[in-house]
Amino acid sequence: MTVRHDEFEIEPLSMENKCTPRSAAAHMLYEVVDPFQLVEPGGILDVSASTYESLSERVTRVRGGQWMPMPYTMKLEGARAGPYQTVMLIGIEDPQVLQNVDEFEMRLKSCLIDRIIASFGVCAAKFSVSLRIYGWNAISGRRRPPSTAAPIEVGVLFVVTAETQELANQMAKACNPYFFHFPVRTDIELPSYAFPFTPAEIARGRVYEFILNHVVSARDGLELTRTEWYQW
């Protein structure tokens, strides 16, 4: 990369790679809210008038970015350590289950919640059970339209969230036989779904949820940081 007073050129290190005007400009899209203004600690970079010019097949020159100095600020983001989760996974190929996945999920979930309340009573005041049906709607959690074809198999991820890891583990253990054998019909013996491993319960640890989203005014970039020097 060659940086001059009011422009720069980018050339990849590998001769097989290219930096094109499109790939250079597209950099301002990646994982940012605003493609024209990039807020940095001491100002805002505005690229709405930037130009991207091809100098060769591999080299692009960028000009026209405007730097608007602002008082120095730093972004402060932080996650909170929350409750604990334990998970279990089963696979299901039984066509009778797959014919009506939504109803199966609803009945299974309500059975598991009842089971936890029956076993743990008041100490279960703060818990939640979530089922994610991979192969059906695990990613969005949204209902599929009624016309959707049945899946050919699904993975069901059970997630229980509780105040301590021990409690989450015990709740998963209490649910285990019901999760594993939940009947889709009552006139035959209980089915067994496909556990991929045993023990089935996996202690997943704490939930870390982003909670802190602040901008802090600072004199300069070092005011909020600490530097320690080591000699060896």
Partner: protein, 113 residues
Amino acid sequence: MAKLTINDVCDQVRSKSAGPFWVTVDLFFSNEAYYKRYKHSETLGPELFESLFSANPEFVKRFAVDALRVVKISFARPRPQGWVHERDLHAGQQYVRLLNVELAESVPADPQA
């Protein structure tokens, strides 16, 4: 004539987290004509993101990046990254529910288009 979907007029659609409190979606239109026809489409307004993602319509931002034929839409997540019932930490699959959305043409027509 049947309306075209986002999938019909874009050669790439992607979504990603933009920091832990926002999701951003990039619509790469496959040619200049489609880009001009749809870059101001009312269909791509805040209501769409409210209905598909439960986003607060006041926190939906939209940008037209002419140099790339891209419409970029960013919205605040209803719940922050990593919340208890998280299903897509990096929001990498959130674009999929946009693909079959049928687009109305830009109204009023963009005089610069």
